[in-house]
Amino acid sequence: MADNRKVSIIVSKGRLEDVYAGLVMANGAVMEGIETKMFFTFFGLHALKPKFMNRLHTAVVGNPALRMPGDLPFPTLLGIIPFVEAGISAMMRKEMEKLDVPPVDEFLEMIDAGGGEIYACKLAMDMFKLKKEDLHPLVKDVLTVGEFYEISKGGEIIFI
């Protein structure tokens, strides 16, 4: 079971579903005994800010796959009403909790507990004027793209 497999997962978007896709894949890899690294860049960095990480949103405007009960399409115009986005996102988080999918901070702790590593992208940090202290303490380091390739060497890379 423990083998030589290795994977790096890049999270470049800050929407709930994109961040969770990365976290589920990373944690799943850790659970399989695969050496796992996560690299957050651009809007994905939003998911590493302690203040926002457990309150990520999904896009309710311009999201054609968003459905209401009964599989009815969700009208984009409803999405512009205040609090609708927050409500729908909260509902999604609640549904995930029921499946034992943890909030983002706890997910990072699970990945870390299994030996997975979490990194942030230097260029995006500079762009958003973020410092390492602004991010969750489990962020191991801020890397340049070259350093990222260095630590990912020989493994698979997944971009989300």
């Binding site: 589920v24 944690n27 005994g33 943890p102 699970m110 507990a113 299994g114």
Partner: protein
């Protein structure tokens, strides 16, 4: 499907070595199974296996997170007890099918 004998008891196992019938499980089977993988089970291991069995037999889905909240061991400790792939290994030694959850 194949037959295997652990601790003097002959059991049916699937291709990956998981017991077909969880009711055939005994602590001795668990210990011998783990020994095959080079792992010596302690009381704490057994406690985790029993926890998983209890959850499984109640029809609950097994997750790493639930083990972390069991009060027996935290997630880090769970990875230490069953190095590599803890939930898969622990399910196997607990006589349960391969875990079906993604978390």
């Amino acid at each position: 499907m194949a037959e295997k004998t652990f601790a003097g008891i002959t059991v049916q196992v699937d291709d990956d070595g998981y017991l077909i019938d969880p009711n055939q499980w005994t602590e001795d089977i668990a210990k011998e199974m783990a020994k095959e993988d080079g792992l010596e089970l302690t009381d704490q291991h057994i406690e985790v296996l029993k926890f998983l069995r209890e959850k499984y037999l109640k029809g609950e889905t097994l997750t790493i997170r639930s083990v972390g909240k069991s009060g027996i061991v935290d997630i880090k400790g769970f990875y230490k007890l069953f190095p590599g792939a803890p939930l898969k290994k622990a399910s196997k030694y607990a006589g349960l099918p391969k875990p079906s959850s993604c978390v």
